[in-house]
Symmetry: C2
Subunit: 435 residues, 2 copies
Amino acid sequence: MALRSILGTMCLGNRAACCRFHLHPPHAPVRHASCQSRSGFKPERVAVVTKTTRYEFEQQRYRYAGLSEEDLKQLLALKGSSYSGLLERHNIHTSNVEHVVRSLEREGIEVQVVKRGAYSEEVVRWADAIISAGGDGTMLLVASKVLSKDKPVVGVNTDPERSEGHLCLPVRYTRAFPEALDKLCRGEFRWLWRQRIRLHLGGTGINPTPVDLHEQQLSLEQHSQAHRSDSQQRSGALHQSVSTPSLLPVRGLNEIFIGESLSSRASYYEISVEDGPWEKQKSSGLSICTGTGSKAWSYNINKLSEQAVEEVLKIGRSQAGVDVPLSPEFIERVTDQYNESLVFSPDDRRLLFSIREPIVNRVFSSSRQRGFASKSVRATRSGSVRRTVLTGRSVLSGCVCALGAGTPAWWWTGGPPLSSTTEPSLQSARVRRTS
Amino acid sequence: MALRSILGTMCLGNRAACCRFHLHPPHAPVRHASCQSRSGFKPERVAVVTKTTRYEFEQQRYRYAGLSEEDLKQLLALKGSSYSGLLERHNIHTSNVEHVVRSLEREGIEVQVVKRGAYSEEVVRWADAIISAGGDGTMLLVASKVLSKDKPVVGVNTDPERSEGHLCLPVRYTRAFPEALDKLCRGEFRWLWRQRIRLHLGGTGINPTPVDLHEQQLSLEQHSQAHRSDSQQRSGALHQSVSTPSLLPVRGLNEIFIGESLSSRASYYEISVEDGPWEKQKSSGLSICTGTGSKAWSYNINKLSEQAVEEVLKIGRSQAGVDVPLSPEFIERVTDQYNESLVFSPDDRRLLFSIREPIVNRVFSSSRQRGFASKSVRATRSGSVRRTVLTGRSVLSGCVCALGAGTPAWWWTGGPPLSSTTEPSLQSARVRRTS
């Protein structure tokens, strides 16, 4: 499964050329969505895509290394993990998946259960609706392969005690799934429109081996495999020509990250916003996110701590020679307002780009550390070959590509139209608690 | 050479346990340094450690792939690099190295020229002084293996037109090296004391294969090699016990970065500052730097753009209901003062830690996003095995280790005692130009 899951997703390059982000032609507005929601929704075929639990992952990996279940227990203990703990989480996930499947079947819906590593375009074609049974990572993967805006995606958090699952249904529906299903069939829900990112990719040496890094626990064998395929393919690189940009068979629900795959390495590239002048960049990468993504990594790239805000205000106060009291509450209010301004709506068709940790010197400039793009952002990269990859928290090879707010994913929420139960609550908590 | 350079440096683990940073017993103060500088310095044996030029690197890599020099030209063209350009930079480097070597020999000094990949403890033992012939990356590597505070390290920037070389001698000495040598012998220089970081490392599954990531151009074969050795070794993991913390045979001149090697992955760890309470962290890693490092990556992690400062001041102004004009000059002054406060002296024995892009939620807190440690910082990591590595811009495996301001490196500058010609000028430029 570990190896299958590498092969399960997208294919990226490892050569440099140019990448382009642009907006997709406008889609049906929210009104369209809300009127749809009046009529209920009753799928005939539902695919349930399940995450790989940590227990399954460790088990596969140690089997791969030829070790027994008993060895696994000892190894997990060695690195401070509890075998029984992992098994317990695994069983909770499994029983929640079974509950969802039974509830669907009881409604006469045909169900296909698919491991995330086996999740494919065929599964998407077959299904009228897709249920992601896991956490946000699984949801990002599921959403990435749904190209039509008419195919609903529903997230069920199968480990509600341990994971946040901002993109999933409210956790109460994990155990009360039939109730969610009723509301869906009776139309007692609203569609939540989320813009996604389209990615056109080109350049030389496009890597034929897709690498799935969605899972936190990507195995070293997977890395090794990816690097080997990559270096093998280099020897044949001479016979590769520059390919024209082609649309990847995936959509980014949260963000695309362009940069080195190795966190210790700086990225060299040029960007052009709204077809403006090209600007050389040396930074820890470039992030482009949707409204959905604006609450996640992009938020953490751009948010300020109360510590920083307090220091800025103190300096400003002394430089201006004014006497404004800076109480902890005041600092917190300013910090909250600043950080909240970094978040925008999932149905907003703009993209937010962020130059991450820009290095500014005589060669590299950074006129804007972040900004919105309503028309296009282009990025280009040339020079030495570097290993980069694309994931939900995406790292993209230097290459010809286009990235834009693409077809929206359809979501639904149990709860009244104004309910924001599927909206992440973590972010506001972060804003309040960051310091 | 590419492969030799992997084996040339440090050895790190890939299992989780605990790491500890503490300050080293105080060393001779600056007074000691300055009085030393009165008496000249005349080494008998000097090792000249040379960087791997981009030309050499590409050549090795394509030879590795069984390609000819002609193939190399075509491949470089394909990815937008110029063969003749690389060759020109290579020749400039080579002639500068020859100039340095001849100048030393003319003074009757015994010289050993060593490629960075072949730079070893034996070379350090043999030499009275070591010259790094390259840029800052080469200098960081050279300094990392000099454990004694009595062995001078001198940086010569061998590509003065193209690279900044903040840690190297003023660029004019690249071509006028005999002049620098005279000053050294006549004592017309001052020792520049730079604190370094000591690293104790332990835990299970310490990776026996050292990986050198100093070079920007680390090859995919090197990654692959590293990952393979790592996964091979896992199968034997059961027979490994938790090793007690041991001091690595390297010193960090700039910083240590603890986090995932994959830039797209979040790091889970706990830290304790000055033996205080443990705090769970989920972030894009943890940076610990010296004063030298405070001008580099750590600076870019913590610095604010004028864009951000302006927004904070505007919010603060409206929240406080005061009417302060926010001119571009004012914004720039505040930004400069804030960013300059992030930089501290190379001889300062404190460490600056920074939680990079902290994620704050109900599980993970971040009471301080950054702070100084004068006594100790400890970091611990448990749970799933992740692949991490240590470099000049360091990524460290979850493991038992201790990190502290260690033995200082001795430096000298051509120029009068108060000259700051070896001090980075880039940083202030960044401060001015960041926005």
